[in-house]
Structures are given as C-alpha cells and as structure tokens.
C-alpha cells in the first residue's frame, strides 16, 4: 500500500496540471435516490483528494444538469468530471459531449454507474447499496484523477478496394463497391469468372437459370470502368492496415492475347484432350480451351501443364493471338479495403471409403455438382442424365445426403446447410424429366429452413420423390453384373433396405477452398477450426475478418447458398466502402503506449494481437499500428515487463480504481 501511494504521487507530479475533480450524483428521480442515499454519497465524495466539488442533482442528464457540469468546468477550473448516474451506454456520451463543448477532452469524463449496477439491483439492501455507491464513486474519482486526453485522429484512406475471388459473392461485392464509386481490383484464380454458379443447372427454390441470373453481373463487372479484372491471378503479399494496404499479386500467363476472337480454331486443331475441370470431368477439353462457350473473359487459355508445344494453334490462329512467350507478371496495388470472396470447394467423397467414389467399377457414383453438369443445358449430354458407365438413362437414382458433412470421421462436424435443398431440387428435376424413374433421397434429417424451401420439399414429395430416413452404410457393387446397390436402413420403419442404384449421387459438403491456408496467412487473418476464414464476431460482425479493413464475402466464411452469399457480399461491400467513400477513418487513439525503457523486444504483444496491430521494424523495435488497433488491451497481460499499457486502462489506473472497490484495506505488501 505504501509503495502504491508512492507511485501514485510520482505520476501525479509528472502530469502537467493538478487534477481538479467535480463529482455529481444523480437522483434519476427515484431510480437512484429511492435506494441509494445520494446525499451521503455526495458528502463522502467531498472528502476525497482533488475533489473540488461534489453535488447531487435530480436529473443530471437534463439541460440544467448538463449546465451544472459545464459551469463547474468554467467557474471552478475543473478538469475532470465524475457523474454517478446511469450506464456509460445510456448517458456517458451525453456528458462526454457536454464537457467537450466547453473545451475538455471527452475522455476526461468518468461515468460511474450507480443505477444499473447498484440501485436497480439492490433495491432490498439500501444500506449495502449506499455503501457500494460510495465505493463506486471513490473508484470513479480515483480513476478520473489519472485520466489522460485521447485524441481523435482522422486517417486518410486510399480510395480503392481489392476483391479476391470472382464468384458470385466476389462479383457482387466488386459491383457494389464500383457503384459506390470505389475503384476495384478484382482478381480471380481461375481463367474465367462466375465461380460455381456458372456450373449449375437451376437454382433453388424457383428453379431459375443461374447463367441468366449471373450474366448481367459478370458482364457488368467485366465492362465496368471502375473495375480492373485480372484472371489467373493470386495474392502474394499484403502489407499495411485498414485504409491503406499494399497488395502484391501475381498474374499467370494466359498465352493468348486479348485480341482473341474466340473462334475456336486453335482448340479444334489441338491434339491433347483432358477432362474438363469446369465440367467436373463430365466432358473433355483441349490443352488450349475456353472453359465453356459463355465464359468471361471470352479469351481462350492455354494449359501449359498438358500442352505438348506442337504449335498447331499458333499456326492456325487467324489473328495471331496465341503467344507462348507470355510471362508471369507481378502487380502491386494500393487499396483501402480488401474483400475476400474465395468461395468453397466441393468435398472429395473418395475419402469416405464405403461409397467407393472414384474407384474402378463405380463410375456411376457421382457428386451433385457432376449431376448438375449433366442436367445443364450446356452439357455434353444435351441435358440428358446418362450413366457414365454405359451411357444409358438410369432407372433408379439414389441420392445420399451428408457426404463429408456432419461426419466426425472426416473431421467436418458442421452441416453444410445447402445440400438438402440442392438434392431436393435435383431430385424434382429428375423426376420431372424422367417420370418413370425412381428417385430416392437417403437423408439423416431434411433441413429446409427459410421461405419457399419447405414448399420445394413438399413439391418434390408430391411429384413422387422417395425420401428414406437413413444414412447409407455402403454402395455395394455386384462384381458379376456391375450393378450397384445402396445399403441403407429406413430408420422410420426399422427396415434394412438394398436399393438399386443405377446412378448414385452424393451430396458432398462444402469445404474451404484449396490454398486458403497460405491466403489466410498472407492476409494475417485467422481461421476457424473448420478451416474457413473466421469472422470477427459470429453474430454481430459476420463480414469483418479478424483484421480491420479485410472483409469476408460468401462461402469463405462458412457454407452458404447463393442468396446468402450475395447478401453477405453486399454487406461486406458496404462496410468496405464506408471509410473509403468518406475518405478517412476517424479513430480515437485509445491505443497502447510502449515504454521503451522497459521493452525487451520479445514480441509477445505481436503474438497475442488478433488484429495484427503491432508492427516491428528491422531493429526489433515494436510499435503500435494506430489504425489497426482495436483497443482491447489484450497485449497488456502478455507483456512480461509491463512495458505496453493501454491508455486510460493502464495497470496503475486500473489499480487506483480497484483499491476502493476491494475495500481499500491493504493486506499484502509489495
């Protein structure tokens, strides 16, 4: 205790001005005064050191109350105010604004909550409540004594944004940002934009054409004057913080110049054929190819890995667009916000052995996305669903739900949430197209929440899709006939079934996309244990990532369907644009200060800082990034020497507040 006081005296001497504190205790009508003896509280506050005035008043938040506050500053030279009334959320801002009006920094106000924390909750214990209020006010005065000015700074931002990923979420975000007047750099890993949505046949619940839905967006983005689109591009390095990032990215060569007329001559002479990635292996493509006829950009692309370099395409191209000498380019952009819309991957079901996906003889086991490709009007089968093994129309189609999701064995405990809707939609389309076929969905639980989805489920039931509640244990192949059977228990009737499966469709989960790990670490963004990028707060801030200025859009944050992705992306775009359109970030400099005489450059503050707001230079000098810091103070206990202290929440300041609240009787000596 003695030492504590010594320290307190020293720091008081260091501050320039003698603290002069005014204390006001609010009655709040009967709300406070009905339980707490406000006079006694005000009286006790008078004796506290540095208190020049202590009064009580009926309604401090009224005009008169606020004027009392301001007058005390003007007349008595008060430089710190303490108001014991309601919570900081309720009127803390009122009083802070009031003292700001008369020239005091708003952080020189200390709000003491004697209503929510005291009078309202201790109605039956008036004596205890009064005692508590006295302690709370003393703590408030102690805290006020050392309060420091916190300046509010305007940090200019770079009016430009980067969007990573040009799937539906990325396109939407890019479009929205551009419409708000923010120049956008949109980078896409693949050679075409549009993402998974372009692969689909119909979208649920209204069975609309996804190509028609997305093409205004793809065309709009490709032709938008404010959007720079780069395909085959990947982020390499990110530096800076919210408002001012420097992003370096790499653009792989396309080997075909923009003057390509998309005539397809090159493709027709190319001797190489490989399964098309975009078509999920349901058709073949050449080594120089365009993923699909409507692809944007419509320029052809050469796949260097599979190309044998026969030069036939160069020779045949009427506009000499093919150029094998193109090199990887690097580009650096300065942006104020980053929107990550890297999407998702379809889970690879070959990990689940009993389903034998991808094994010899199991050609007729496909995924929903592959089925989607077959049904699509642009498919090689001309929208017919044909068995990959023999090209016949399947009579019995079985869909298996929850492949790779809700499965602890493969480590994906979550429910993807879209597979049920997806499967029901496809089952219905199949049943409509082939009324004589038997379409069965084997499910654990049908999850169709939301408007119009239960109706979709109902319509599928009505049209004759068979629903069996049970998770198939395996897909069994008769080696003699090649016939597939799905072994499942109908749990509702407790009957083990062996269903004929001419075509078995696996509803595979949505999993984080490839390369998300390196991307996350380049962005300094943390990931959830499922592997997706982690949002800042699961409920209140689902679009912000762990780092300020980097926003998440769509399925990169977690499984989402198209409408959710679009909505999420719109939200991300609005947040990302907010400080860019305004031109600056207004930030209270409530940030930690580092005492360099104590700092040992261990870097632990950097380790624990979730928003990555601690910078370090070559000489191992650590500093706080004013913009990125979120004022959480998490670095304070991590510092072994106590060198880093959050302004107005430092160890000393908190101790002064804690002492009266603890009873103030020192038991142990330092």
């Amino acid at each position: 205790m003695t030492k504590a006081n010594n320290e307190a005296n020293v720091s008081e001497l260091e501050t320039e001005e003698e603290p002069r504190i005014a204390v006001f205790v609010c009655h709040c009508g009967h709300n406070i005064a009905g339980t707490v003896d406000v006079e006694k509280v005000a009286e006790s506050a008078k004796d506290l050191p540095n208190v020049v005035k202590a009064e009580h008043y009926m309604f401090m938040c009224s005009k008169t109350g606020v004027k009392m506050l301001q007058d005390s500053i003007k007349e008595l030279g008060v430089n710190r105010t303490v108001v014991a009334s309601c919570s900081k959320l309720q009127h803390g801002r009122t009083f802070a604004k009031a003292i700001e009006e008369v020239g005091l920094n708003k952080h020189k106000h200390q709000q003491v909550n004697v209503r929510e924390f005291c009078s309202w909750v201790h109605k039956n214990d008036k004596e205890g409540a009064t005692q508590k209020a006295i302690q709370l006010v003393e703590a408030g005065v102690n805290r006020a004594r050392k309060l420091e000015d916190v300046e509010t700074r305007k940090i200019p931002t770079t009016k430009a944004a980067l969007v990573i990923g040009a799937g539906v979420a990325g396109l939407r975000a890019a479009n929205d940002l551009a419409e708000l007047g923010v120049p956008v750099t949109l980078i896409e890993k693949n050679s075409t934009i549009g993402g998974h949505m372009t692969q689909l046949n119909k979208t649920f619940p209204t069975l609309e054409c996804p190509q028609c839905s997305i093409s205004p967006l793809t065309n709009g983005v490709a032709n938008h004057p404010l959007i720079d689109l780069y395909t085959l591009a990947q982020v390499k390095n990110v530096e800076g913080s919210m408002g001012n990032f420097t992003v370096e990215f790499e653009i792989k060569p396309r080997y075909v110049h923009d003057n390509c007329t998309s005539c397809g001559e090159c493709s027709s002479v190319c001797p190489i054929e490989v399964p098309s990635e975009w078509d999920k292996g349901m058709s073949m493509r050449k080594a120089i190819y365009k993923a699909y006829p409507q692809a944007i950009p419509s320029t052809f692309v050469r796949d260097k890995q599979t190309c044998i370099g026969c030069n036939s395409c160069i020779n045949v191209c009427p506009v000499q667009a093919v150029d094998f000498s193109m090199k990887t380019e690097k580009k650096t952009v300065n942006v104020g916000s980053i929107v990550v819309a890297a999407g998702f991957n379809e889970y690879d079901p070959s990990e689940i052995e009993p389903y034998h996906y991808g094994q010899d003889g199991y050609d007729d086991v496909i995924t929903q996305l592959q089925l989607e490709r077959m049904l699509s009007p642009t498919s090689i089968t001309n929208s017919e669903v044909l068995r990959p093994s023999d090209g016949r129309i399947p009579k019995n189609i079985v869909m298996i739900q929850c492949v790779g999701s809700r499965n602890d064995q493969v480590g994906n405990a979550y429910c993807t949430g879209v597979c049920c809707k997806f499967a029901i939609k496809n089952a219905r389309i199949l049943k409509e197209n082939y009324p004589n076929s038997n379409v069965t969905i084997c499910y654990i639980d049908v999850r169709t929440p939301g408007l119009n989805f239960e109706e979709l489920y109902k319509s599928a039931q009505e049209i004759g899709v068979r629903f069996i509640r049970g998770r198939p244990s395996e897909i069994l192949r008769n080696p003699l006939t090649g016939e597939l059977r799905v072994i499942v228990e109908d749990t509702l009737s407790m009957t083990p079934l062996q269903l004929k499966g001419d075509l078995v469709v696996l509803s595979a989960a949505m999993v984080p996309p490839e390369g998300i790990g390196p991307l996350g670490s380049r962005l300094h963004v943390l990931r959830s244990k499922e592997g997706f990028l982690k949002e800042f707060h699961i409920k209140m801030n689902p679009t912000l990532s762990s780092k300020g200025g980097i926003y998440l859009a769509g399925a990169i944050q977690g499984p989402k369907d198209i409408s959710e992705s679009v909505a999420h992306a719109g939200g991300a775009a609005a947040l990302a644009a907010a400080h860019l359109v305004k031109g600056y970030i207004e930030k209270e400099m409530l940030i930690p200060k580092i005492d360099y005489s104590l700092c040992i450059s261990c870097g632990l503050c950097k380790t624990v800082c979730a928003p990555a707001a601690i910078d370090v230079d070559q000489d191992r000098v650590y500093s706080v990034n004013e913009v990125a810091c979120k004022s959480c103070g998490m670095c304070m206990p991590a510092c072994p020497t106590g060198a880093i202290q959050l302004i107005n929440f430092s160890d000393d300041q908190l101790r002064d507040e804690i002492i009266p609240l603890s009873g103030g009787e020192a038991h142990c000596h330092d």
Binding site: K123, A129, H537, N541, L654, I658, S662, G663
Partner: protein, 156 residues
C-alpha cells in the same frame, strides 16, 4: 473445486458466511459482460450488493496483476466475466484470460487456499440472467470455499 465442495448450498452456515462477503470485484468486459450486467439492471434482477463491477475493454485485458491488486487490497474474491468462448468481440481474449486464471487457480492451490478466489465466467449481453447467474454462482462458490478453507484475507 471438487464436486463435494459444490454440494450443499443451503446450509444455514452459508447465510452467515455470505453476509460477511463484502467486496467481490468483478471485471466485466466492455461487450457481453457490461451488456449483460446492464440488461440485468434494466430488468431489476437483484443480486448480492457485494458485487463490485470494474469496466475493462476485454476479459483478455485482465491480467494477474489486476487480480492480485484486488485481492491484496481486501477483495474477498475476483471474478472475470467475458463473452462466450468463440464469441469474444476481440477475437480470443476470453481464452487467453481463461488460461491465466487456470494457472492462478493452480497457484492458489499450491499455497493452500481454495481455487475459488478467482474464476472466470461468461455472459451474454442480451441475457441479463446470465450475469446474475454468474454473480450468484460467485457468491455461492465463495461461501463454500470460505467455509472449507477460510478467506484469503487470513493469509495476508
């Protein structure tokens, strides 16, 4: 705390012990903690007057220094209240805090005290009853701890 220690709350002894608890310092984070306590206040949910709330930015800000400051200066016990795990508004402050407190608990046991003089709870801003539940739990546990092992003040 072992399960036997939590066992019987309704002992008449407890009422006397509870009456002796005067200062229970609770660090509440600026987000869910303060939010829940405010909600409890607005809903007029009563709790023990010994609860003294200190506003901090995040439960991750409360280090052993603050906890020991409180205990040294006469607090009967210290509670740290933050958001639910995975819902920290500053990402993972509550988890960092939790591990520090686990170590402190171990330290108290090594010194021969109950480990209930410091503990961590969670609250949800919209549910005032979570914070009230926390406060009641704090007092209950403390009462049992004091009954079995005496107060920490004895040792100071």
């Amino acid at each position: 705390m072992t399960s036997s220690e939590v066992g019987d709350f309704c002992d008449p002894m407890d009422a006397e012990i509870k009456a002796k608890i005067k200062n229970l310092v609770v660090f509440m984070c600026n987000e869910c903690g303060q939010g829940a306590a405010n909600t409890a206040g607005v809903a007029r949910m009563g709790y023990d007057a010994a609860i003294r709330i200190v506003r901090v930015q995040c439960s991750g800000q409360v280090g052993p220094i603050q906890i020991m400051d409180a205990l040294n200066n006469g607090a009967d016990a210290v509670g740290v209240v933050g958001c639910c795990l995975g819902a920290c508004h500053f990402f993972n402050g509550n988890i960092l805090s939790m591990h520090r407190i686990k170590l402190m608990k171990k330290l108290f046991k090594e010194l021969g005290y109950s480990d209930q003089f410091v503990n961590q709870w969670t609250a949800r801003a919209a549910e005032g009853e979570t914070s009230v539940g926390d406060f009641e739990d704090m007092v209950d546990r403390l009462a049992v701890a004091i009954k079995n092992k005496g107060t920490i003040k004895d040792g100071c």
